[in-house]
């Protein structure tokens, strides 16, 4: 077997982790790109005045959009790989989002979210989205594809003929 042969791993439709990683990755990349249409006059890493909300719901700033693009790309790449890589990415991003879901409340508490402390320009719908993403990514990462490990998905190297 060639060393650079594509490792098929677990089929996409049979792996909840690959489905979720790809779906969330695509959505976060799309949201990250769309967000740049709503950040006119918004500080790079500071709160806006409420007009910087995607579809009038989720507040963003340029830094927030870049974070969405990076996270979305990581999930997309992991989803395109193996179930093990998707599982690792889902668990890691889920844990990070859970942390952000909690820390976000501390950031938006002072001055109703209009304080410079709110460097990601978060609002309540953002908290809901972050917590929902965290819970779904964690549930999938921890609860699905139990048999998918890096060792099991890597094809066995062929025996060397001496």
């Amino acid at each position: 077997m060639q060393i650079n042969q594509i490792n098929p791993g677990t089929a996409f439709h049979k792996s909840p982790n690959r489905i979720i990683a790809t779906l969330f990755g695509a959505v976060y990349v799309l949201v990250g790109l769309l967000g740049f249409f709503w950040v006119n006059g918004v500080p790079f890493a500071g709160p806006g005045d409420g007009s910087n909300a995607i579809l009038g719901i989720f507040e963003v700033n340029p830094l927030h959009n870049i974070a969405h693009l990076l996270i979305g790309s990581a999930l997309l790449i992991a989803g395109a790989g193996t179930a093990a890589s998707a599982r690792a990415a889902n668990s890691t991003v889920g844990a990070l989002y859970l942390l952000l879901g909690i820390v976000g409340f501390f950031l938006t508490a002072p001055d109703g979210g209009r304080s410079p402390v709110n460097f990601l320009s978060l609002n309540v719908p953002d908290h809901i989205l972050h917590l929902a993403s965290a819970l779904l990514l964690l549930a999938t990462g921890l609860g699905a594809d139990h048999g998918a490990t890096r060792d099991r998905e890597q094809p066995e190297p062929e025996a060397q003929h001496v």
Partner: protein, 160 residues
């Protein structure tokens, strides 16, 4: 219903951890311990095919529910007798945390009564849909509960 107990426990844990920030010293430690235990148990429950230590967890949930009811009723009851008691935890946070604990308890009792573990792997799409529904419901409830606490600055639930 495999992911519901774990996600509901993590949600209840987050609310209890958030509530402990503004709580009076007498309520702070129990809320902190309860929150940590719920989050840890929730993560364990998600990573296993069956809820871990189900009888003990059901008992723990019952104790948490009794505490929630006492916390909800104590200030009003004390006021009727001329005392002023405040635990520093808003009723909404207590109620949402209690509702999630109740959900965990009911699911654990159902699991214990059925007495068997589902070993057949769940179909991927069904897993994704079920986990998605559970995550959405728990996230909305947790945000409402946390927004009512001092962590959320008692922020109004407006869209922007």
């Amino acid at each position: 219903m495999r992911t519901w107990p774990g996600l509901a426990a993590i949600g209840a844990g987050l609310i209890h951890l958030g509530s402990s920030v503004g709580a009076v010293p007498a309520a702070l430690t129990p809320l902190l311990l309860l929150g940590v235990a719920e989050v840890l148990w929730g993560v364990l429950a998600l990573s296993r095919t069956a809820p871990p230590a189900a009888p003990a967890a059901a008992g723990g949930t019952a104790v948490a529910l009794v505490g929630t009811v006492v916390g909800l009723l104590l200030p009003g009851s004390a006021a009727r007798h001329g005392f002023s008691v405040s635990l520093g935890v808003p009723p909404v946070a207590f109620a949402v945390g209690g509702a999630l604990d109740l959900a965990v308890g009911v699911l654990l009792v159902v699991h214990l009564l059925r007495g068997r573990i589902e070993t057949r792997p769940m179909r991927p799409l069904r897993f994704v849909l079920e986990a998605g529904a559970a995550a959405a419901v728990v996230a909305v409830l947790v945000t409402q509960g946390l927004a009512a606490t001092s962590v959320g600055g008692s922020m109004p639930m407006q869209m922007h």
